[in-house]
């Protein structure tokens, strides 16, 4: 067991190192120069631009050779410093991300967990139930094939504008300041509902379809037929099939949870929700090296942690993994 996790850990560390290096490299391969871009936007006099260009290049540490920048980056990273955002100068990247992440968690965690739970159970229930298979699953297919963007705009249009029952922008009313009161909490939930619903619906469709297909496969397996032949009740057969079918879904869930830090870009843009997804888009558009690095660093950490969690979860849910480990090093 220790050897198994030891090896895993080494792989994770190597992956982290490589992924972070790539994360550092990619924005620098993008065409363009962030300092020049930001300055030319300010449309200043030529003399001012030249001086300021030098000043800001130094301020962002972009004036030293590229290898030096790379070393400085690791050095700062170990000190918990992700640099200063270019596009939101002079805000530190860590602060920018920390302000956005709570919204993502608040939006995505319930959407992912609830849709996973509901989708799997519904999928398992619907499989091989003729009228459900014929009526509701096609709806699931439609839902999962729906682009978030489109569903989001549709929901915003119908509930936000035509019916006017939900707000269409922001994380809480533009007429409020965050404080502890029912008014504020209600406002937060009210603004949260539509983005949540659009994410929930699409993901629900995906989980339900996946589970339905998986459980049909399991119900065709020998052990299911054997159980049926023994005269086991339908519920029992389904229970065993469900336990087997859920494994790939757990992987899917963990990976989804891992990228929570990436936010839900499209949903956040459609509903103008201040999470990290929109931040990433803006960072890339503005070539904000440091913000891009910071956002992706969180994603890398999230994915690695999720994978680690899968490793552990498998040991718990799937006895075969446990047996494999004691028998032969996995």
């Amino acid at each position: 067991m220790r050897r198994y996790f030891g090896r895993k850990l080494l792989i994770y560390i190597l992956t982290f190192f490589l992924a972070v290096t790539i994360d550092w490299l990619i924005p620098r391969f993008m065409p363009g120069n962030p300092v020049q871009t930001m300055l030319s936007r300010a449309a200043l006099r030529a003399e001012a631009v030249e001086v300021m260009y030098g000043y800001y290049t130094r301020a962002f540490g972009l004036d030293v050779p590229i290898w030096q920048q790379y070393l400085n980056f690791w050095n700062a990273l170990f000190h918990g410093d992700l640099g200063t955002s270019v596009y939101m100068f002079p805000q530190p990247v860590t602060k920018v991300i920390m302000r956005a992440v709570p919204y993502d968690i608040f939006l995505l965690l319930p959407a992912i967990l609830l849709s996973w739970y509901a989708g799997n159970h519904f999928g398992a229930f619907a499989a091989r139930t003729k009228w459900l298979d014929n009526t509701i699953l096609p709806v699931g297919y439609i839902l999962t094939a729906t682009p978030y963007m489109w569903l989001g705009i549709l929901l915003a249009w119908v509930f936000g504008i035509v019916l006017g029952v939900f707000p269409i922008a922001g994380a809480y009313s533009f007429a409020l300041r965050p404080h502890l009161s029912w008014t504020f909490i209600r406002s937060v939930l009210h603004h949260w509902f539509l983005p949540f619903a659009s994410l929930f619906l699409v993901m629900f469709g995906g989980w339900a379809i996946g589970m339905r297909n998986m459980i049909i496969y399991e119900l065709e397996a020998d052990y299911s037929h054997y159980l049926e032949a023994l005269g086991a009740p339908r519920r029992l057969v389904r229970k065993y099939a469900f336990r087997n079918a859920i494994l790939p879904q757990i992987t899917g869930l963990a990976l989804q949870l891992g990228v929570i830090a990436a936010g839900a870009l499209v949903t956040e843009v459609v509903f103008s929700y201040p999470g990290i997804g929109y931040l990433i888009l803006a960072a890339i558009q503005n070539q904000d090296y440091f913000l891009i690095q910071g956002c992706f660093l969180f994603i890398i950490i999230g994915v690695l942690l999720a994978n680690f969690a899968i490793d552990i979860a498998y040991v718990i849910v799937d006895p075969r993994t446990r047996l494999g480990m004691t028998g032969e090093a996995a």
Partner: protein, 598 residues
């Protein structure tokens, strides 16, 4: 290092708390003032949270909701950081004020912090400040603050107005309210624009700051002299609350109607449009295609009731890269000018939300500098036959029969016209440019690189043809000419003349204009006329249309919005960066609340 900074900061917090507790007591002793100076403003943000009860819900009838100005989440309140000022546009205009305001619609410099200002001789500018202006912390605004602000530009080259010191020799306070500026060969035109663009900051709060704090500090909880105070912010909003002790209320009888301004940032245009339709935005400065329909149906009001609906804010100019053949040939450039179907850009790409530009490129607000005789003789308009005739006369003929002309030396002509990807209106516009040029026999294709790639190509001069509109509304035609004919030619052209048009005669004219006193209108006109003649003969740039001052407003909560109609204030209804002092703030003072219906 971090830890020690932190403990130092907490010390300051305690200190500022103590100070805040003492502050209302009596006239502060000199020691106390000295202490206040030491407190970095980043820290003082803690203070109001502790002492004043927060207002947590804003009354709709007292609040103005605006959108379309903020490019990004609020990141600083430092009036000297130019590149993120578009994230919090109110920093200059609502909090920090300028010596003058400028009204482009009447072409008038409006005395603001200054009561008056004039050139007493060719090298001396005398400024008189209003008496009785106070900072929002109660300290008086005096000549010392003005001198201090200008001298920051002398000390720190990284401040945008620092180049003013190339011709400014000294700034002297004479008494408390008079300031004298001494120059050598002043650039009068630029000076006039400085007067309404340089924000004056309080000396007593800024003089203790380090260079880094001045040029790159976030300056949270700013203390200015303006009509509004910082109240709060979040990723998607800036909230300003009215300064009830604003000097202009007692001195000029002006009072902005909204108690609060909530400046909202929407992640996409469809959200902005939805908010406009729902009446959640009182003033939207977003570009919303199709607003004409909403305006006609009465959902929103615009400055003009009919096309082009919007005032013109800046000129979209097609830069031709004059270092590349065949764009080094003035005949070819003129042919391109005649080949572009600007009418289609206006009608189709913009659905009539914009106006075709004058061939000189000068905005309607500067129309008096257009020499109509020159335009009548040399101006261009969409005329494919004329384009073909110019091409044929200059030796551009279709040799290989592919429908496109070849250069006189027989080489193929394949050009690209670009704009950044995602700028949907411009993407449509360059399609029209490419198509109409192709119809006239010039092979131009439209390409939309990423902003970064586009910007690099623009500033390093590797593009063929591209759109640009970086000269906004201003008090002088020099602003446009400084963009079009920026010189000398350098490796990186970061702020103009992207096509690297190299003509000393033109550069001399632009320099001459810059050194002409703004009061000498006849002199300015004479030089402008020469510039226009040269520009229209050589055609290094092609002015195409005026981008609008996008503004749509709702009359649900606030009325008396700017409009062309008579007896209604004509101001720029605009919250963009730099536009507060060009009419945006005065618009607020003229708004009227709608009485609540029964």
């Amino acid at each position: 290092m971090r830890k020690s900074v932190f403990s130092l900061m907490s010390l300051f917090v305690v200190l500022s708390l103590v100070l805040a507790a003492c502050a209302p007591a009596a006239t502060p002793t000199p020691e106390v003032i000295k202490e206040t100076v030491e407190v970095p403003v980043e820290v003082t943000v803690e203070v109001p949270v502790e002492v004043t009860p927060e207002v947590v819900a804003y009354e709709r009838s007292e609040t103005l909701y605006v959108s379309g100005a903020a490019w990004g989440p609020p990141s600083d309140w430092n009036p000297f950081i130019t590149w993120s000022k578009a994230n919090t546009t109110g920093t200059i205009g609502l909090v920090y004020e300028t010596l003058f305001m400028y009204d482009p619609l009447t072409d008038e410099l409006i005395p603001w912090l200054a009561e008056s200002g004039e050139w007493t001789d060719a090298n001396t500018y005398d400024l008189k400040l209003r008496e009785g202006i106070t900072w929002s912390d109660g300290q008086p605004l005096t000549a010392a603050d003005v001198v201090f602000t200008f001298e920051l530009g002398q000390k720190y080259a990284a401040l945008w107005f620092s180049p003013t010191w190339n011709y400014l020799d000294s700034v002297t306070a004479i008494g408390d309210y008079d300031v004298q500026f001494n120059f050598t060969d002043p650039l009068y035109q630029e000076w006039a624009s400085n007067l309404y663009n340089i924000p004056i900051v309080p000396k007593h709060l800024w003089e203790g700051r380090t260079e880094e704090e001045v040029t790159a500090g976030a300056n949270e909880n700013p203390v200015g002299s303006g009509a509004y105070l910082y109240e709060s912010h979040a990723e998607d909003r800036n909230v300003w609350v009215r300064n009830e002790d604003w000097w202009a209320t007692s001195l000029l009888g002006l009072k902005p109607a909204p108690k609060r301004i909530v400046d909202m940032r929407f992640a996409s245009n469809n959200v902005a449009l939805g908010a406009v339709i729902k009446g959640e935005v009182d003033l939207s400065n977003n570009f919303l295609p199709g607003i004409a329909t909403l305006s006609e149906k009465g959902y929103v009001q615009t400055y003009f009731a009919e096309a082009p609906y919007m005032l013109s804010a800046n000129t979209a100019v097609l830069f031709l890269n004059t270092t590349k053949p065949p764009m080094d040939d003035p005949d070819f450039r003129r042919a391109v000018a005649f080949a572009i179907n600007t009418g289609d850009i206006v009608n189709v790409a913009y659905a009539n939300l914009v106006k075709a530009a004058d061939p000189t490129g000068l905005l309607p607000s500067l129309a008096k500098y257009v020499d109509q005789a020159v335009v009548d003789e040399l101006g261009f308009s969409y005329d494919p036959d004329e384009a073909k005739a110019i091409l044929a006369a200059a030796g551009y003929v279709d040799v290989d029969g592919d429908g496109f002309v070849e250069a006189p030396d027989g080489s193929k002509i394949e050009l690209e016209v670009t704009c950044p990807f995602g700028w949907t209106d411009w993407m449509e516009a360059i399609k029209v440019i490419a198509n109409s040029a192709q119809d006239a026999g010039i092979n131009i294709q439209d390409k939309t690189p990423d902003y970064g790639a586009w910007d690099t190509a623009l500033t390093t001069g590797t593009f063929d043809m591209t759109l640009n509109n970086w000269a906004g509304m201003s008090n002088t035609p020099w602003t446009l000419y400084n963009l079009l004919f920026n010189h000398p030619i350098r490796d990186v052209m970061g702020s103009g003349n992207f096509g690297r048009y190299d003509n000393q005669q033109m550069f001399d004219l632009v320099d001459q204009l810059a050194a002409t006193p703004s009061t000498d209108e006849a002199g300015m006109k004479a030089i402008c006329s020469q510039i226009q003649e040269l520009m229209l003969t050589e055609m290094p740039v092609i002015p195409l249309w005026y981008n609008g001052l996008w503004a749509q407003y709702s009359n649900a909560v606030w009325t008396n919005w700017p409009s062309e109609a008579e007896n209604i204030p004509s101001r720029l209804p605009c919250t963009w960066s730099g536009y507060w002092q060009m009419g945006g703030l005065l618009t607020l003072t003229e708004l009227e609340p709608v009485p609540p219906s029964e």
